[in-house]
Subunit: 258 residues, 2 copies
Amino acid sequence: MPKKVVIIGAGNVAFHLTEAMLQNTVNVVQIFNRTLDNARKLAGKYNISFTDKISELERANVYIICTSDKAISEISCHIPFEDCLVVHTSGSMPISALKGKYRKGGFYPFQTFSKKRALKYDKIPFFIETENREDELTLFTLARRISGEVYKTDYEKRLQIHMSGVWVNNFTNHLYHIAHEICEKHNISFDNLKPLIKESADKIIEGISPFEAQTGPAKRNDKHVVEKHLSLLEPDSRLYQIYSLITDSITKTYHDKL
Amino acid sequence: MPKKVVIIGAGNVAFHLTEAMLQNTVNVVQIFNRTLDNARKLAGKYNISFTDKISELERANVYIICTSDKAISEISCHIPFEDCLVVHTSGSMPISALKGKYRKGGFYPFQTFSKKRALKYDKIPFFIETENREDELTLFTLARRISGEVYKTDYEKRLQIHMSGVWVNNFTNHLYHIAHEICEKHNISFDNLKPLIKESADKIIEGISPFEAQTGPAKRNDKHVVEKHLSLLEPDSRLYQIYSLITDSITKTYHDKL
């Protein structure tokens, strides 16, 4: 286990990683953030040190940069120490985005984080990447304190994992949003959709493959119902296009010869 | 409460409705199905009567047609009784699809059903439609035996509800399928995606609006990451098109002026 860890950033990922680490007796010694107020909010919860000045950055064994992708290079080049491991938590940046003479790594927690939501940390997959075996062991031990799911990865695979997350979270959430809009427009309570949203996710989580779980007019190639639904949408609108394209994709998945 | 109910069909909806009704002491007296074997399988579980012959159809107060949309008209015209209520369970057919001299109605349970999956019936929204107030009361009482969520609807609204279900279930499931394909191709365990799938649904179920819950590169208008992801997909492939279109839709939702 690294003796001392510093968290850089005070956003959603920093918030949850700090909590997860402190709950599991990882020695987080400081929060660094460019906006002092946010650093104070996060550090204050746990009564640990915080700063917005690089000159006050404490010496630690591991620095975890939890900022946005864009800020990683900029902040990383200001870390003045060499005998340490600096990692970022991004799914889409190579570890070469870290600019400094220290050792480098990736520490990617694969989940969607918002400060408002409590999370079960022990199920979150962590994907780690390092330059050498010793650091791999360090990150592995660190992540295992939090979660039972820790895996080695390289940049190529991490990108694929990140993109998979976009499909099952970002895009899925946008479909929920579209349904929410339809409900609002037609005076339907969105709460009525929740048992279906839950069952759709539960099916997959409990082990039915998405291929097997598919139901509905597109799968049955039921053009009659598809036409009815399309007639409810404004022709050539965003929703019309998405409905058509996904329907087409489902139909092709099950009726290969079409 | 109707004294006697007959279920017509032996598919997923019939399977679950029969179970839900019998669990709640609704008097289901018979299963009718064109394929006797499937009727036997379902009726046999509960030791109730079954048949594949219209001439053997028992007299009942309510007949619930749980067949596919296409079969509704055909089967409904063979019901030889007039002093009864005949309903279908379709989200996308008008009650005029029922062809007979009996009273007509809609009894739409808004959930995705598969025989393999146990369901909590008491949370399933039921949408009912009838020709008169007395039948409305009958169907309301019947549905309330099963679920706490029972609503009147008309055909127009039922179609919108059905389409909303396509967005949050059918389309969402297809995105899970696409992610599953990506995982298989790149030797990533699909199990790694499950905590994220769960959290994405849970957020919404527990009351965060999809608009507020949205995260990711498209929302941030992070073209750099979007380009990286697109570079992982075959240009102009089905996946490339869907990725582009949904990304575009998310970006427009949050950056209206683009």
